[in-house]
Structures are given as C-alpha cells and as structure tokens.
C-alpha cells in the first residue's frame, strides 16, 4: 500500500513539475552540431521557439558575455552584439533581423532561430535548422555552391557601371589594390574566361579567379560606390572621376560603414510608407507613399549636388520597409541627420498646412528608462565600441536638442518658400524617430485630405519648391551645426543652398566606397 501511495505522490510531483515547465514556456530539445549532440532547454514566446545562445554557440566553440548595453557573443573571432529590446543583432556592418527580440531568462539570453542562422552562416559557415516535429535544432555546414558569373560594363553619363550577375547570393568584400578593385567572394565561381578586355571610361579589363574578380582601372583617380541587388543577385559598382588624386592604399578593406569626421556628411532621407502601406489617401485617390517617394528622390538628388553629402534613401522604390528598420539603417550607416517625409490627413474639412516634428520627451524618457534598467541589471561595466551601434535609446536623449533645432530651421524654410500655412514645430512619439542616434525630424509637408493641397502636392513645380526649401533648411542646419561644433568658422556666410553649391566638397575619401543602404537590402 505504501508503494502505491508513493506512486500517487510521485505522479503528483511529476504533474506539478510538468505544469511548472509548461507555465514557464520552456521545453527540452536536441541540439545536433558538427561532431556531437546534446540536450538543451528551449523557451517559447508568441509561438516561436527561442534557443539558449550560450549553449548553442558553445557547441561550435563560441561564447557569450554580458556587457552594459546588452550581450556580446563571439564565434570564430567574429562578434555579434544584441540586446533584449531589439529585433536586430549587429555583426560588423550587417544586421540580422529577428521576428522578435531575444528573451532573457535568469540572466541567460534565448534568441530566435534567425539569430543563429544569420550569425553562424557568417561566423562559421553553418546553417541552423529547426525541426518542430522532432524537436531537433541542427547546425550543419552551408552547402557551397559554385556560382555562374556574368560580368557587364557600361558607361552611363559620367560613370562606368559594372554589374557582376551571379547565379546565387554570396557574401563578398571589395578591396582596393594599386590600380585594381578586387571583389572577393565567399562562394567559388565558375571562371567564364580568365580575362576580359573592356574599353570603357574607367575600366580596361577584368580577370577572374576561383573566388575573386579583379577589375583593372584605367586611372587611379576613380571613386566608386558599391551595392548589391537581389533577384537575380548582382554586385554593382559605380565608378566615377574622383574629386582629388586618390591615395593608393595597399590592401585597404572597403567597408560600407565608416566613423564620420565631425560634421554632417551622411544624410538619411525617409520617404514615408510604401508598398501595401499606402499611407493617407487623398479625396482624389492620391497615395501618400507615391508623393513622399517622389519628393524624397528629388530631395536626395538636390542634397547630393548642393551639399556634396552622401545621401541614403530608406526606400528607393514602392516597397514596405518596417519603421524600426528605417531608423536602424540610419544608425547602421552612421548618418549625421535623419529626415522623414510624410503627408498629413485629418477628418476636419479644410485642415491645411505643414508641420515638423521631433521626438517627444516622454518617448525619449521611456527609452532612457529602458536603458537605465538594462544598466542597473548589468554585471559591471565593460567598454565595447561595437555595441555603440545598438545604443539607440541612450544616445537619443542627447540628440533631442539638435533634433529640435533641425525641426525649427526646416519648418522655417518650408514655411517661407511654399507659402503653405505653418502649423509649427511639435513633439510627438513618432515610431520612426525612436532610437535614431542622430538629429532626427519628421516633416508633414501638407494635408493630402485637403483637395487643394492634394492637387498642389502632385504638381512638379510645387514639389521642386518644397524640395528647395527642405534643402535650404538642411543646409542651414548643417552650417549652423558645424559652426557650433567648431568644424566650420563662425564667420561662415548665411547657409543658402546655392552658396553651399560652390563650397569645396567635404565628401568621402575616394578610398572608401560607400554602399547605398536601400539597395543593399534584399528585394530591392
């Protein structure tokens, strides 16, 4: 009888334990990795499995450490930075997007599958595959595919466009050697011909190796942009005449991100909405997303030509770009200024005018509170410059004053030039401004719900006036800011855009190839 009582007791304990495990949303799974397998505990959140970062990475010789801003993990000498409140992990100049942020359970980070497949592919050439039915997470080598490459070189206006079309995606780096640009590919390529001659403005030929394409330049005075396109996968290089003789840097690794010198060098312009997120719709059927894209394209071109700054659009076509990704891109590219362009809408008939917003202190406080919580729960302070990239929230606090100033000058110039009613400068918790680590503002250029303003907003001449005003506002902010931080003399003349046009270019050193952010994303 005593035996039966024990059985009942043990069953009760087992049931209680199972209930506890269920309540915690955790369960056991098998982890298979090259050279072994083991049991791990996984967590569940929102129907998604979350895997223990420490255990999974340890199986391939990696480690995780807590740092003040979040966590840092290392596998094969490659770092990844991530935090409990961000859906983005940062590896060098790349961001890994996760469907939800990692979860911290008793101080240990648990991350979605995408974290592991994204990071381990780069760090160890491994793919992470989860089989829900069998409860097995497998880390297996990514099959190496030999890619076909089709090169083409064309001269377009003042630039030479080189397109390397590949039969599949691959990671790559571009390195400048004396008189040559070398595209180094992670995947091997089938060599089409050992060498190909070209007679274009800047390119004399290309040679192909098993994992590289060498582009022979006619002159060292060439500046280049590089970006990639998807479907089909293409690496594109735009070569143009460099402003000054190019210092030949042996074996300079070219990365899309660089630490800016003080001043405004990179501007991110954000055309509101896109794709199925059409934004507000005018009474005549006009979509906000179309007008914002048209204005922003014009604005980017004008800023580039008058301020000689690097300008990145968060979208260059009619596509959905998540709000946090827009700000994340600006942070990733270490932009010095962020301007989001929108059209307003109201149920009030006759609502009209333009207004400029910067982030409200409430929203900023909320971010600071999160940052403080993380700081307080940290295990001591450890410096890590890599993690600065994901310090969006903390840094935002210090940019509020500059954002306010930016909003002020942009609104003033817009009001003066367009004659549209000024509704002033305001603060609100706009999602797209949350976490920008640079002066950031959002302009509402007019009310699409107002038939008169809807008509104006489609007029090319009105758009040009608007673009000129926004450019003037940004130029004025740029020169005032550069005086404030001491990189421009205080006696600088008024910052009219046309004056800026004659100023010597403060653009990038030609040895650095900027990468255009919007084109760098899949599906562009």
């Amino acid at each position: 009888m005593a035996k039966r009582t024990n059985v009942v007791f043990l069953t009760a304990v087992a049931v209680a334990f199972a209930t506890y495990v269920w309540a915690q949303g955790s369960s056991a799974a098998r982890l298979k990795f090259p050279g072994g397998e083991q049991t791990i505990t996984i967590a569940q959140q929102g129907g998604q499995p979350l895997f223990p970062v420490d255990r999974v990475l340890a199986s391939v010789g990696g480690r995780v450490e807590k740092v003040p801003e979040g966590f840092k993990a290392v596998v094969g000498g490659l770092d990844v930075a991530f935090a409990a409140d961000s859906r983005y992990a940062v590896v060098r100049d790349k961001m890994i997007e996760m469907p939800q942020p990692p979860m911290i359970v008793e101080g240990r980070p648990f991350a979605p599958l995408q974290f592991f497949s994204g990071f381990l592919r780069l760090a160890a050439g491994l793919d992470a595959v989860w089989d829900q039915a069998t409860g097995v997470l497998e880390l297996k080598p990514v099959p190496v595919e030999t890619l076909e490459v089709q090169p083409s070189v064309v001269d377009v206006q003042n630039l030479t466009k080189i397109v390397l079309q590949l039969s599949g995606p691959t990671e790559y780096t571009i390195v400048r050697e004396a008189g040559t640009l070398v595209v180094r590919l992670v995947s091997p390529i089938r060599v089409p011909v050992p060498e190909q001659k070209y007679d274009s403005a800047y390119v004399s030929g290309m040679t192909f190796g098993p994992k590289e394409v060498r582009i022979e330049l006619k002159t060292a005075q060439v500046a280049a942009d590089s970006y990639k396109l998807e479907n089909p996968f293409r690496i594109v290089l735009d070569l143009r005449q460099a402003a000054a003789p190019v210092p030949v840097l042996p074996q300079t690794t070219i990365t899309p991100r660089r630490r800016n010198a003080p001043g405004i060098h990179t501007i991110v312009i954000d055309p509101g909405h896109g794709g199925k997120e059409v934004g507000a719709v005018g009474p005549g059927g006009l979509f906000e997303k179309d007008v914002t894209l048209a204005i922003c394209r014009k604005l980017a071109a004008r800023l580039e030509s008058t301020l000689h700054t690097r300008v990145v659009l968060t979208r260059e076509s009619d596509e959905v770009v998540p709000l946090d990704q827009r700000t994340a891109l600006a942070n990733q590219y270490q932009a010095d200024l962020f301007l989001s362009v929108h059209l307003n809408s109201s149920v009030i008939k006759g609502a009209k005018g333009s207004e400029t917003y910067f982030l409200s202190a409430d929203a900023s406080d909320e971010l600071a509170r999160h940052a403080a919580d993380r700081e307080n729960s940290g295990q001591g302070r450890q410096g890590n410059s890599e993690l600065n990239l994901i310090l969006w929230d903390l840094a935002q606090q210090s940019y509020l004053n500059e954002s306010s100033r930016l909003a002020q000058v942009v609104q003033e110039e817009m009001n003066q030039a367009t004659g549209v009613l000024s509704r002033g400068v305001k603060q609100a918790p706009f999602k797209v401004l949350v976490g920008a680590t640079m002066p950031a503002a959002l302009v509402e250029v007019g009310f699409i719900s107002n038939p008169d303003e809807e008509k104006k907003l489609t007029d090319g001449a009105f758009q040009d006036t608007l673009v000129a005003a926004l450019t003037k506002g940004i130029a004025r902010y740029k020169s005032e800011y550069e005086v404030r931080i001491g990189v421009a003399p205080p006696a600088a003349p008024p910052a009219a855009a046309d004056r800026q046009e004659q100023a010597p270019s403060p653009s990038l050193p030609a040895s650095v190839l900027p990468t255009r952010a919007a084109a760098d994303r899949p599906g562009v």
Binding site: R4, V8, E277, L323, V347, I348, D362, K431, E444
Partner: protein
C-alpha cells in the same frame, strides 16, 4: 486500491469546493462591477483647430473603475454630440476589451477591420484618435495614469504607421485646446 479511491475522492471534493468558492467570489465581483450609477464624463474629440476639445455627458457607469473604462471608451467611439467636434476614429473601430492594471496602466484593446488590416491615414488623425482615448480616460479616472492601446489583442507598433503605441502613453497637454 480502496485507499487510492479515497484519495481521489478527497482531492475531487476539495477541488469542487474551491471552484464553488471561486464562483462566489467572481459573482460578488460581477455584482459590484455591474452596480450602475449615473456619472458625468468629459469626452475628448477633434476640434476644427485639430486639437482635442471636450464635451460632457452623464452616462450610467459601473462603480468599479476597471469595469467603467470599457463603457466610457465605447461611448467615446460613438462620437461627439456637439456638431463642432469631430470623431477621429475609423468608422468601424470597436472596443474589444478594457482593463485597469495596478499602478494606473489602462489597457484598451481596439479592433475592427480597418485597424486590424492597416489604417491608411495621416499622423494628425492617428494622433488625435490615440490621445482622444488617452485624454478621456486619464481626465475622468484618477486611477488611470497611462493608457496602453492594443490592436486585436496584440501589442502594436502604431495604429497607422506614425505614433508609437508599443508602450503605455501619458496624456499630451499640448494637444488639448485651451478654453
């Protein structure tokens, strides 16, 4: 064997008595919540100057604030009686549920096809809609300090692509029209 049966019987009896006790408590709470009394509520809608203007009306409300929140939000969603004010919400917006959590967080769960499928509007209409609810609840209930809006039971980034509603919002005094 007999002892095992006895054990099961004891467990079953105690579980059923606990359930009965819980039923009584829930019933008592329901009765308290449903006890109605008329109360004057100040509702905030959009003014021609694109700010929040108010109108007051007396409505029967449960005594318990937590239960009263839903009644007030449903009344707010009906729109203003004063023709000078406008209703900013999508026509098909509905309230799914409202709760009051400790420390003054009101949870307002909104639904309706427009909000669920993606509301295509500008920031002014979105902002006024959000703060119409935030202002109305914080102005009428001293127990409500912040309002967290959900869409279809889920935490949402925004209602229409602009204002961050992923965490509870405080009222914005600058949006309220000066008398």
């Amino acid at each position: 064997m007999r002892r095992t049966l006895f054990l099961i019987l004891v467990v079953a009896t105690s579980v059923s008595s606990a359930c009965r006790k819980a039923e009584v408590t829930i019933a008592e709470q329901k009765m308290a919540a449903q006890k109605l009394s008329s109360r004057e509520i100040t509702f905030y809608f959009e003014t021609p100057a694109l700010l929040l203007g108010h109108e007051s009306r007396a409505i029967p409300l449960p005594g318990d604030d937590s239960a009263a929140l839903a009644v007030v939000v449903r009344e707010l969603l009906k729109g203003p009686q004063n023709p000078a004010l406008a209703r900013p919400f999508p026509p098909d917006a509905v309230l799914r549920a409202a709760y009051l959590l400790p420390e003054g967080n009101a949870i307002v769960d909104l639904g309706g096809p427009t909000l669920i499928n993606g509301w295509q509007t500008g920031s002014n209409q979105e902002m006024i809609s959000i703060y119409s609810i935030v202002q109305t609840l914080t102005a009428n209930f001293t127990t409500v300090k912040r309002v967290h809006l959900l869409v279809n039971g889920q935490v949402s980034e925004t209602l229409a692509g602009h204002i961050d509603i992923s965490h509870p919002l405080y009222p914005m005094a600058q949006l309220v029209a000066k008398p």
